[in-house]
């Protein structure tokens, strides 16, 4: 049931694919993962890779600061009006899964104020391995881990590693220094995720975000098809 199709209310109430004016809303992609794994760096690299071909915006969910939003502003990856920070009351997973109202408000305000948008990236505050996004908030989610957090994380699984639409193993350049076995991480990820894709990346090298950007383009092509 699409509640908003029966009247001209100001806002959709759920994951309805259309905006109140009947146009298709932006694709929303969530990025979650542990603290320090490189979510914000990935968002920044995606913005730089995609901003010339897409109209995009970012919502950050900082746990107790505005640091992630401020990093993106400082790096000037997007104009400031395209970046919104949501406060999460010490519970980042609540804001992306159990009570998504503040994030929905942020994505709708971005569409109203700087739209039309093709893509909105919703970055979770750093959290634990069980943090996943509600389907009411995002259309697809990326889970970002890194090699320095321990090469046993893919084996441990958990909802983020197992069910995310894309698993990103970040900071592959650090593997030799921290003794992480990338082959083992790939095999464990395959065992946990079957056919779901995994990308290994290092953002230290030029074009490091290419594979993830390609995956995002494919999601967008499917969304607008």
């Amino acid at each position: 049931m699409h509640l908003d199709h029966s009247h001209d209310g100001p806002a959709a109430v759920s994951a309805d694919a259309h905006r109140p004016n009947g146009s298709r809303r932006a694709l929303r992609i969530g990025l979650g993962g542990p603290v320090g794994s490189g979510k914000t760096a990935t968002v920044a690299a995606l913005c730089q890779a995609l901003r010339d071909e897409l109209s995009l915006a970012v919502v950050t969910n900082d746990i107790y600061t505005r640091e992630d939003a401020e990093f993106l502003l400082r790096e000037a990856v997007l104009p400031p009006e395209r970046i919104t920070a949501v406060a999460t009351g010490a519970c980042p997973h609540t804001a992306i899964r159990d009570d998504i109202s503040a994030n929905l408000e942020a994505v709708e305000d971005l569409e109203d104020e700087v739209g039309p948008l093709d893509l909105i990236l919703v970055e979770s505050g750093g959290d634990n391995l069980t943090a996943t996004f509600s389907k009411g908030l995002v259309d697809a989610q990326i889970f970002v881990i890194d090699v320095a957090g321990g090469d046993d994380i893919p084996r441990k699984g958990g909802p983020g590693v197992t069910t995310a639409d894309l698993l990103v193993v970040n900071k592959t350049d650090l593997a030799p220094y921290v003794g992480s076995d990338l082959g083992r991480m790939a095999a464990d990820a395959k065992a946990q995720r079957a056919e779901l894709p995994v990308v290994f990346q290092s953002l230290r090298s030029k074009g490091g975000v290419r594979d993830v950007a390609g995956w995002v383009r494919a999601q967008l092509a499917a969304w607008t098809a």
Binding site: G9, A11, T94, E105
Partner: protein, 224 residues
Amino acid sequence: MSRAALLVLADGRFPAGGHAHSGGAEAAVRAGRITGAASLEDFCRGRLHTAGLVAASLAAAAAAGVDALSLDAAADARTPSPALRVAARKLGRQLMRAARATWPSEELDALARAFPKGAHQPVVLGVVARAAGLGASDAAYCAVYESVSGAASATVRLLSLDPFDATGVLARLAPELDRVADRAVESARRVAGEGVDALPAASAPLLEIGAEVHAGWPVRLFAS
């Protein structure tokens, strides 16, 4: 009325955004006014008889069918702090979203059209109560309970307070919650004859000042 519907609406897990707000507790903890269970109880009692009473009266009046536009203006007049007005409208908008999905109603749609960026949360709460088949007293009870429960759960996170102690605070306040809810319903009843000026305007200056200071902090756990 449906007692079960009241439980759904009053549930702290009802997804209407409250989890990100501390009801002024974060500012009070930083200022040293909440340091444990005893001072949390004092804080909650103060909140209940000021902000809680005003919110419950607005909610009861809205649930009784008083015009939401005039109630929203009355809420503005009773909320000196710009930061608290912003927080109240944000929470009103979030409650509106959750409620329209939960209890679809033409009245809620009309309120959402009138306030696309959100009406004051207690006003929305009253209209939501109507949509859920609840009455003025139910709406008042939700408002008084929210006025203290949010601060109590935030303090558990802020001070690592024993959660049993925090819940004990709420239980000890229960008889006062009953009295404030009754008073709110009584004042809402008088609005029919006397207009919205019959609603109480009890204010808590430290809550208002604390909210303004809190809004300027670069590092904080809660949105308000």
